[in-house]
Symmetry: C2
Subunit: 118 residues, 2 copies
Amino acid sequence: MRFDPASLSYDANGLIPCIAQDHRSGEVLMFAWMNRDSLDQTLATGRVTYWSRSRSAFWIKGETSGHIQTLVEMRLDCDRDCLLVLVEQQGPACHTNRQSCFFTALRDGEEVEISQPL
Amino acid sequence: MRFDPASLSYDANGLIPCIAQDHRSGEVLMFAWMNRDSLDQTLATGRVTYWSRSRSAFWIKGETSGHIQTLVEMRLDCDRDCLLVLVEQQGPACHTNRQSCFFTALRDGEEVEISQPL
């Protein structure tokens, strides 16, 4: 079936959640949002482009930092209301310079930092 | 640092997105939402419990299907507005009986089913 971006379920703000995963290691790198335009742009350019809710603007991942995400494959979930992008991540995905944004684990009720800045 | 659930950033509806990942394979299984109470319950019971937005009720994953998720580790992202749960998944995570909800890939503009019901 031909993919139609209009067939996805966007929320009241026209956004759809997106999980970025390293296509080699399987590490979950980050979580952000796309809208219809950033989704189109991601598919057209192969450069993962989110929608920044705080800036109300396109967020071409890595545009300023150089830590770009090249799209390897996009997947949809069963409800068509969440995206998973498998990416080739250049440098760290997190603005704190860590590979993944999920560097804080809860262990025995304590927050534990499980990775360091690169 | 002691973890305080009140320190997380919940959205206007009191919800926080949650990604479930198989702790062994690294496969992203599903995406859902938690609220403060379901988060507390997940940590207290070790059984992953979401908040069903459609039913406005606790959603103890697998309660009716038996396809439970046992919490192995919970992680937070850098902005404290998204959770990642590493889980031991009993049976398929998806209601379609597939291991993961993300069974549709976009390839050359086509939707391709990349896994079958178990």
